[in-house]
Structure formats: structure tokens, C-alpha cells
């Protein structure tokens, strides 16, 4: 079910030849490639299939590239967007960066530059945020996306399960308390089953009452604990650490 080997790219451009050329180039390099001629097609295609990266033209009939990206973020926030446009210096391009697009490549496309941009985006660690507060999720998305991560969101244990089954994550950020019948502890169990190599970071607002629970979770493989309100720099620091030891968690907890 998990497709970890083949990386996928969705090319969105109203110019057919431009789409087909990028398709040829990327397929030749071993990517799975989809093509959409406008924003609506792109959104439908993302409903149908999963893509790591979207290459997004800005000026298209109907929705412009920025509006398309906003919709993509709602649907598939973990999909990285690279803007490919003849208007690379325009306000629209600025707006795309503002929205969180990974980079901008000017037309006519310098293919090595585009391939580097794709590789850079794919090299970003994939983080799953599991939290039932949509505003908190959006904020974390912005912070982590800006901090060099690709960020998937899940609002309950069920969504988390679905995500964890489909993709392999580098880090999973879990709120202990979730809406619905299952809690963060259940999610931790799913992570252990589906993504045993993912680092697990607990996020909790309960500082005193659940010390015991947290201690036992750290013992069972939670790598770090962050308390709400989140200290952004601390969190980015924790996430960018490569080490997998529970020492990290202890250090963060004591900090």
C-alpha cells in the first residue's frame, strides 16, 4: 500500500505542450507523473491520487495558481508546490510564496534547476501533525512548512491511522488528548505498528496532572514531549534532531 520508492509529480499548466514536456522529462527520470490543464482538473486529480509535488503554473483560465494552491493545502497540506511561471517576479508569485509554496522556477524552465527544486522539496522530512484543534493545526502547518518540513494533518485518530497507513513519515507530532473515542496513546500504538522508524513527539497542554502517563509513554518510545503553548524554536529544534533516543525527550521535558 505504501509507495515509498516512486516519487510522484502533478504538472498543472494550461499549455498542453508544456505539460507533456515535463511529463516526458520526469517519467524518463522515473517519476510517476500526472497532468492537469487547469485548477479544477488539478483538484480532481488530487482527490483521485496522491502526489508528493505539484508543479503549478500561475496564470491559467479559471482559477489562478495561488487559488489552486490554497485548495490543495486544504485537501492535501503535505503536497509541496513549486511554482513554474512566466511571471516569476509578479505579485501572484509573491502571493504563492506567502501561501507556503516551496519555490519558484521561471519560464522558460531551466530543467536542472527545476530538478534541484524537486529534489530539495522531496528531501524535506515529512511530518504528521495529529491534533483536534484546526487552528492549532493550521498554525503548526505554517511554522513547520516555513521551517523546512512537509506537513500532513490529521484531526483525529482515524485520520491519523489512514495517513500513517498510506505514507511513511519521518516525524509524528501527537496531541495526547483527541476528540473521538481514541486518544493520542492509540495513535502512538498505530505509529509503532505502521511507521516504526518515525520519531514520535508528544504535544500536550497537561503539564502536571499526567506526569505519570507521560513518563510511561517516554519509556515506551516517545522521543520528545512539548508543552502547549508551544515554544516554536524549541519545537523546530526537536524536530530537526536526527537522534532517536529517549534522552532527547527527557531533555525537552526537563527544559
Amino acid at each position: 500500500m505504501k509507495d515509498n520508492k516512486v516519487r510522484s509529480v502533478l504538472v498543472v499548466d494550461d499549455e498542453v505542450d508544456a505539460c507533456e514536456n515535463l511529463r516526458d522529462i520526469l517519467v524518463d527520470l522515473g517519476y510517476r507523473v500526472g497532468v492537469a490543464r487547469n485548477g479544477l482538473e488539478a483538484i480532481q486529480e488530487l482527490h483521485r491520487a496522491d502526489y508528493d509535488i505539484v508543479l503549478l503554473d500561475l496564470k491559467m483560465p479559471g482559477m489562478d495558481g495561488v487559488s489552486v494552491y490554497r485548495e490543495i493545502k486544504r485537501q492535501r497540506p503535505e503536497t509541496a508546490a513549486i511554482v513554474v511561471s512566466a511571471f516569476s517576479g509578479s505579485e501572484l508569485a509573491e502571493a504563492a510564496l506567502e501561501e507556503g509554496a516551496a519555490s519558484i522556477v521561471a519560464k522558460p524552465v531551466d530543467v536542472p534547476q527545476l530538478l534541484t527544486a524537486i529534489a530539495t522539496s522531496l528531501a524535506r522530512p515529512l511530518v504528521l501533525v495529529v491534533d483536534d484543534d484546526p487552528d492549532f493545526c493550521r498554525n503548526l502547518w505554517q511554522i513547520l512548512n516555513g521551517g523546512g518540513f512537509r506537513v500532513a494533518l490529521a484531526h483525529d485518530a482515524e485520520e491519523a491511522h489512514w495517513q500513517l497507513a498510506a505514507k511513511s513519515f519521518d516525524v509524528v507530532l501527537i496531541d495526547l488528548k483527541l476528540r473521538g473515542s481514541q486518544s493520542g496513546e492509540d495513535v502512538l500504538r498505530i505509529v509503532a505498528e505502521t511507521n516504526p522508524h518515525a520519531r514520535r513527539v508528544l504535544v500536550t497542554g497537561l503539564r502536571e496532572s499526567s506526569v505519570e502517563t507521560i513518563r510511561s509513554l517516554v519509556d515506551r518510545g516517545v522521543d520528545a514531549v512539548c508543552y502547549k503553548p508551544i515554544d516554536v524554536e524549541n519545537l523546530l529544534d526537536v524536530l530537526s534532531r536526527r537522534s532517536n533516543s529517549s534522552q532527547t525527550g527527557q531533555a525537552v521535558k526537563d527544559a
Binding site: 494550461d14 505542450d17 508544456a18 522529462i25 512566466a86 524552465v109
Partner: protein, 391 residues
């Protein structure tokens, strides 16, 4: 303006204000009287200018002001001594140009000069020997002389300012063209470049693939060339070949060239037998082609395209109505401007060309539009003389 023109202009002004050699003699005569007042007046002149932050900011340093004070001293000396010749005028002429160059708003120079004029007149009055009789003739002469100087400075300022403005407008126009063309050329170039990359670097390359990419390159080079052709023929449109023609035939042939895509319903009320007009059939075809394409572009999710025609006493009128997105009110005035476009594709020349073609046959283009409801473009063309009878 050359020396001679300048001198003629000055003579004209002198005549207009009634300046004579007597005035000149009166001004020459008082020069020794006011010499000792001049340094203070010069200081006051620049103090007045420096009082305004917008004026002060054009001076880079105090050294510059010191240099300008020396120039002003020379200016005052010449004012009183003459001769009021070409060299004298050229010096005044350069003052105005210089103010434009450094970006000094003319109003500050005018205010300071008016103060200086008052100061000089006052100095003449104060130092006037009573035995010389009435002072007012001399102060009137001095005032007139300074007014003449100021007129020349003002002229040169206005001319230089206009030149600068036109330069700016030319640059803005080039920028607009570059921006409009950039997108339309970069897209075909993008295909050419990526095809070239693929042909050079692909790991597996079948002969069919090679053919495919070469034909893409060919197609896009043609497209890029069309963009340039469109732009240059807009800049220099061919002269219309005027004939007595049927507007309805033009509309119908345009409709054949640009049939509405699926999802757009076509409603036609194009009666035969309308009077003929005096126009170029090809160019009128372009007009209706543009209007039909625009109408269809405005209805991306379908709608109704309605084409109607009727004639009045003097004109034939064709209306192209869509049920599309409509035009934003703030854009209505701009739609016939060249390079204005709200579409993802196209340079924004269609309606500008339409407007230009119609203007050549005394035709009129009118637009009504309601946001979210659609637009109606109405074309009115005068009936050819005598055409009313030969229906």
C-alpha cells in the same frame, strides 16, 4: 530652443511689457546704490528655499549652496548691468533646466525669487538719493526686468519638465509592452527549451518521441512568431481596402472561423437585406472574430451567445451578447487599451485592434456589462452613401 529663438522670444516679451532702453539705463544707474545690500539678500534667498524640506532635500551639501550663492551674485550683477543679449538669456534658460534636473519644484524657486525681487526694490528705495527725484519709475523698471527673467526661467523649466515627463511615459510604455509580450513569448520558449532538454538528456528516446518533440518545437516557434506579427501589425496596421460590403456576411464568416465551443448555445437574429457599409471585409471580419471569441472566453462554464443585427437611418448595428462573467466596472474604461487583459492567455490587443479598425470606418464600439450577468458589445457602422436604395 536655440540662441536666436531665445533672443526673439525675449524681444517679444520686452515689447509686450513695454521695456525700453530708458528702463535699462534706469536699472544700470542704481547698481552702485544697492551693491552693499546684495550679500544679505543672497543669504535670505537661500534661507527661504531651505525653509522648505522638499526644496532643501535637492541640495546635496552646504558646499553646493555656497557655489549657488556665487552664481546668484553673478546673476544679480548681470541683471543690473546687462547687456541683455544671447549669453544673458542662455544663462537664465539654463537655470530652469537645472531646476528640473535636480528635481527642485518650481514653486520654491518662484517664492524665493519673488522675495529677492522685493528685497532689491526695497534696497533701491532705501538707498535712493532724494535729489534724484521720483524712485517709482526705477523700481517699476527693475520689477519688469526681473519678471522678464522669470518668464524665461519658467519657459525653460516647463519645456524641460515636459521632456522629462515624455521620457518617463516612453519608458512606461516600453515596460508595458515588455510585460505583455514576456508571458506570451516565454510560454512557447518554455516548450522549446524543455523539448531541447529532453532530446539532449533523455535516457530512452524512440524515433517517434524525437518526432513528437521536434513538431512541438516547430509549433511553438510558429506561435512565438504569431505573437510578434500580431504586435507589429498592431503598431502598424495595414490600410483598409474599402468596399461596399454586407456586415452580416462578415459576422457569418467570423462565426464560421470561431464556432462557439461546446456548452455555449448560439442565438442568431441576423436578417438579410440590411444596407451595405463602406468597409474592409477582412478587417471587419477580425472585429467580429474578436468579439465572438471574447464572448465565448467570458463563458468558461457555458452560456448563451446572442448575435443580432439591425439598421437605422444612418447605421447598421451588430450586437454580440454573452451571459458570461461580465467586466469589472473599473476595467470598463481600459478594455480597448492595448496590452490590457484580464485573461490568462493573450496579449490584450483584441479590443484595441477592434477599436482601431472601427475608427477608420467611422464606426463605433459600445459596451454594456453587468458583473456576473454578461456583456453586450455593440458595433455601429455608417451605411455606405446610396446603399439605402440598393437593398
Amino acid at each position: 530652443m536655440d540662441d536666436e529663438q531665445l533672443l526673439n522670444r525675449y524681444r517679444e516679451l520686452q515689447q509686450y511689457v513695454g521695456w525700453t532702453d530708458d528702463d535699462a539705463a534706469r536699472v544700470h544707474r542704481v547698481k552702485p546704490l544697492i551693491d552693499s545690500n546684495v550679500p544679505a539678500l543672497i543669504d535670505d534667498f537661500y534661507a527661504e528655499i531651505e525653509r522648505h524640506p522638499n526644496a532643501k532635500k535637492v541640495f546635496v551639501d552646504d558646499g553646493q549652496i555656497a557655489r549657488l550663492k556665487v552664481s546668484l551674485k553673478v546673476w544679480i550683477d548681470q541683471l543690473f548691468n546687462g547687456p541683455y543679449d544671447g549669453a544673458y538669456l542662455l544663462r537664465r534658460w539654463q537655470v530652469g533646466r537645472r531646476h528640473v534636473e535636480v528635481g527642485l519644484d518650481h514653486i520654491y524657486a518662484a517664492a524665493a525669487l519673488s522675495r529677492l525681487r522685493q528685497g532689491l526694490v526695497l534696497a533701491v528705495r532705501e538707498n535712493w538719493p532724494p535729489e534724484w527725484g521720483d524712485v517709482s519709475q526705477t523700481t517699476d523698471s527693475l520689477r519688469t526686468l526681473i519678471d522678464l527673467d522669470f518668464a524665461i526661467i519658467e519657459d525653460s523649466y516647463a519645456l524641460a519638465y515636459q521632456e522629462r515627463l515624455q521620457r518617463g511615459e516612453r519608458l512606461a510604455a516600453i515596460g508595458q509592452i515588455a510585460g505583455g509580450v514576456a508571458h506570451e513569448l516565454r510560454n512557447p520558449l518554455n516548450v522549446v527549451k524543455t523539448s531541447a532538454y529532453f532530446l539532449l538528456n533523455a535516457k530512452s528516446l524512440s524515433p517517434e518521441r524525437v518526432r513528437e518533440h521536434l513538431s512541438r518545437i516547430n509549433r511553438q516557434v510558429n506561435h512565438a512568431n504569431d505573437v510578434i506579427t500580431a504586435l507589429s501589425s498592431f503598431a502598424k496596421p495595414p490600410d483598409p481596402q474599402l468596399n461596399s460590403i454586407s456586415v452580416i456576411e462578415c459576422v457569418k464568416s467570423a462565426l464560421e472561423r470561431y464556432p462557439p465551443p461546446q456548452g455555449i448555445q448560439l442565438n442568431c437574429d441576423l436578417p438579410g437585406g440590411l444596407p451595405k457599409v463602406n468597409a474592409d471585409a477582412t478587417q471587419l471580419g477580425i472585429v467580429f472574430g474578436n468579439l465572438i471569441r471574447n464572448a465565448c472566453d467570458a463563458m468558461p462554464s457555458g452560456g448563451t451567445l446572442t448575435l443580432t443585427a439591425e439598421s437605422s437611418d444612418r447605421t447598421v448595428e451588430v450586437r454580440v451578447t454573452d451571459t458570461g462573467t461580465g467586466i469589472e466596472p473599473e476595467n470598463l474604461a481600459k478594455i480597448t487599451e492595448p496590452l490590457f487583459s484580464t485573461k490568462a492567455r493573450g496579449m490584450g490587443l483584441g479590443l484595441a485592434i477592434t477599436h482601431a479598425i472601427l475608427a477608420k470606418v467611422s464606426g463605433k464600439l459600445q459596451v454594456t456589462s453587468e458583473r456576473g450577468q454578461g456583456s453586450t458589445f455593440s458595433v455601429r457602422i455608417p451605411i455606405a452613401p446610396g446603399a439605402q436604395e440598393n437593398r
